[in-house]
């Protein structure tokens, strides 16, 4: 399948990226938004989308960040930020919460990443530096714990090296788990291409598709 992708003039800002992810979350979904950039997606979900947010520390139906007068020390999200409760919410313990993820009951999970490979391997928990103190939290559970895993990241590191790579050089969080990749320069779906998972560019921003492919030095589906 070949797709004509026409680039927009400029790459997406972080806000536009969050907006693009929010737009692609199906109406009525149950979703988990990871810590950091993915949290911003909540700001662009519309009431009509009726998306229910899960937080892995034991809640469905999480509302927005708590205003100063709403802060309740017993009501926090996975990033330990005070949040609020929406009508229809429910609480459960940690084993039930991760069973919900591992069992594939969430429709979508949105995560940040250091690297994503062409087959959808995700690296987002460790830079592998020898003296770093390791920490994983729920990253590995989130990576495999939803029907769809959307990743948000910049397409290139500060030094210009691609973060969508043939094979991850950072320690992986999960294998073949990413289904969509949202970046400043383009949006990719990881699709099955003749029995092999490969990225397909579905939107380009600020760069021609051919330029993206050239800078990434990887094969994109249909190009």
């Amino acid at each position: 399948m070949s797709l004509k992708v026409r680039p927009t003039a400029a790459r997406l800002s972080r806000q536009e990226l969050a907006q693009a992810v929010a737009r692609d979350i199906a109406s009525g979904s149950y979703a988990n938004l990871g810590i950091g950039q993915p949290t911003m997606v909540a700001d662009y979900l519309t009431p009509e989308q009726n998306v229910t947010l899960h937080t892995e520390n034991g809640m469905l139906g999480m509302g927005p960040k708590a205003a100063a007068e709403q802060v309740d020390a017993d009501l926090i999200n996975a990033g330990k930020v005070p949040v609020t409760e929406l009508p229809g919410a429910s609480y459960f313990h940690h084993a039930d919460s991760f069973a919900m993820m591992r069992g594939g009951h969430l429709d979508v999970c949105v995560l940040g990443a250091f690297q994503v490979s062409v087959t959808g391997d995700l690296a987002n928990w460790s830079t592998g530096e020898p003296d770093a103190i390791p920490a994983v939290g729920g990253a590995m559970d989130l990576a495999i714990g939803a029907k769809e895993v959307f990743v948000m990241m910049s397409l290139f590191a500060r030094d210009g090296t691609p973060k969508l790579v043939q094979e991850c050089t950072y320690p992986v969080t999960g294998l073949s788990c990413v289904t969509r990749l949202y970046t400043d320069y383009g949006i990719f779906h990881i699709v099955d291409d003749a029995g092999r998972r490969r990225p397909q560019l579905v939107e380009a921003h600020g760069l021609e598709p051919a330029e993206i492919q050239e800078r990434l030095q990887i094969d994109l589906v249909g190009m």
């Binding site: 149950y30 429910s90 969430l106």
Partner: protein, 245 residues
């Protein structure tokens, strides 16, 4: 987000021939009798049924078996004083039986819902029901490897649902409902009462709405029994506003 069906028939309309159907209930408590009756009427055939028992008397699952619509039953306790339809079908070789210790049945359902690939259980080790199964000694104790038991559909019964599909049960009628709701691809629930979203207390919800696909209201208790009772999951004053689909 759940859908709401007007009738039990509509609620089970998507159950296809050959489906694996998880049926809640222990004895009559929590048994979704009206959904099972609707499944009988639907004509769905070649079913694999998971239930604690194998039908009692001349109702529900027993009738499905009588009509030879069940090719296989996975349960812990088929033999009862009034399980004559199962007994006859089994002796005639017309229904396959997989006998599972009750706790392994519950844990296999839980594993299916929780994404566990398999687990080592001490229950059944060294018995006929573990014959041929993989075993292992761990920390000086012997275990049997058991696999998840998921379903295409779960038919369960709860006391209350809200519009977000959250469920609360009543007393020992809770039994297999929560694990079956999580173990099935498609979960159909009959409830006594449907309440507006926000009427069920988040601390007392037992099955969160994400496990629920279809809700239908079937009153089986006298309205006075249902309404005179204070259930902790129902927030004060929300019951008067209870809606009926």
């Amino acid at each position: 987000m759940p859908q709401f069906a007007e009738t039990a028939a509509e609620a089970v309309a998507d159950v296809t021939d050959g489906a694996t159907v998880l049926m809640g209930g222990f004895g009559n408590a929590g048994q979704p009798m009206e959904l099972i009756d609707a499944l009988l009427d639907s004509g769905a055939n070649d079913l694999t049924v998971v239930n604690n028992n194998a039908g009692q008397g001349d109702a529900g699952l027993a009738l499905l078996i009588k009509e030879r619509r069940v090719k296989k039953i996975i349960c812990s306790f088929p033999r009862q004083s009034d399980s004559w339809h199962f007994d006859a079908a089994f002796r005639a070789g017309e229904v396959e039986l997989e006998l599972v210790p009750q706790g392994n049945l519950a844990e296999r359902l839980r594993a299916a819902g929780a994404g566990i690939g398999a687990f080592f259980t001490p229950t059944g080790y060294g018995t006929e029901l573990a014959a041929g199964k993989e075993t292992r000694e761990i920390g000086g104790r012997n275990y049997v490897l058991e696999y998840p038991l998921g379903g295409d559909v779960a038919l369960i019964k709860a006391m209350y649902a809200d519009r977000a599909g959250n469920l609360a049960y009543r007393k020992t009628a809770r039994n297999f409902g929560p694990v079956m709701a999580a173990a099935a691809t498609h979960t159909v629930v009959q409830v006594e009462q449907l309440l507006p979203t926000g009427s069920l207390d988040p601390e007392a919800i037992v099955t969160p709405g994400l496990y629920v696909d279809i809700v239908t209201v079937i009153e089986t208790r006298t309205p006075s029994a249902a309404e005179s009772e204070r259930h902790p999951a129902v927030r004060p004053h929300s019951q008067e506003e209870g809606v009926r689909v």
